[in-house]
């Protein structure tokens, strides 16, 4: 699989860092269809599996939302590069989500974020997460974007 971005660029754009960075790869940036496709490799080494749940590792739904939100930030940076360049804060405003199948260690989580609306200071994104071409979760995500010096 060819990568659209290397990990360095991902880390430049996403304010989240280890152990809260949930995008390993950006596989595709499709400006025409207004979407990005990202990848998170789910591994048993991920720290939260120790507790979620002992002996029965399942990727927490909240982490799937976070991964979809991070894919949404990447999408935002594609459409508003001049805003993203200034390293703003991104904060969630509203999430509507549905979880369809459990995700376990060994799965490759494919995260697609599709633009619904992008403003200078906010975005609305339709996100889906798939494993083996099957949708495991979907979400409608609204987020705000604020420069650090703004009140």
């Amino acid at each position: 699989m060819e990568n659209a971005w290397d990990i360095q660029k991902i880390q430049e754009v996403l304010p989240q860092k280890y152990p809260f960075l949930f995008i390993d790869n950006v596989l595709e940036i499709d400006k025409k269809q207004e979407k990005v496709i990202c990848l998170k490799n789910v591994t048993v080494n991920d720290y939260f599996f120790k507790g979620h749940f002992p002996g029965n590792p399942i990727l927490p739904g909240a982490i799937i939302i976070e991964a979809m939100s991070q894919a949404s930030i990447i999408l935002f940076s594609v459409f508003k590069p001049e805003v993203a360049k200034k390293k703003p804060d991104y904060y969630l405003a509203k999430v509507e989500s549905r979880f369809l199948k459990p995700v376990r260690p060994g799965d490759q989580l494919i995260l697609e974020a599709k633009k619904e609306k992008m403003l200078q200071n906010a975005g609305i994104v339709k996100a889906t997460a798939k494993v083996n071409d099957e949708v495991v979760a979907e979400a409608h995500i609204m987020f705000g974007v604020k420069q650090k010096d703004e009140k």
Binding site: A93, K94, E116, K117, L119, Q120, N121, A122, I124, M142, G144
Partner: protein
Amino acid sequence: MGEKNFEQIKKEIKSMISEIIEVSESKLTEDARFVEDLDVDSMRALEIVASIEKKYKVAIPEDQIRTLRSLKNIYDLLEKSIKK
């Protein structure tokens, strides 16, 4: 869209906004100011705009969003763009 009575559209919009901002339709008068009277924040304002755009297939430019300060402003804007 031309066939649809604008009064009907107004009703739909009011009920949609009432749901988004969680304010009863009786409190959501035409002149109530979203921010000052109804406590609507910028993200909910964006949600209103996005829902209207989706439902009525109109585009509301970013710089117009802050001019939509009450239900009446929204009706006026839509009346212009729908009847065009």
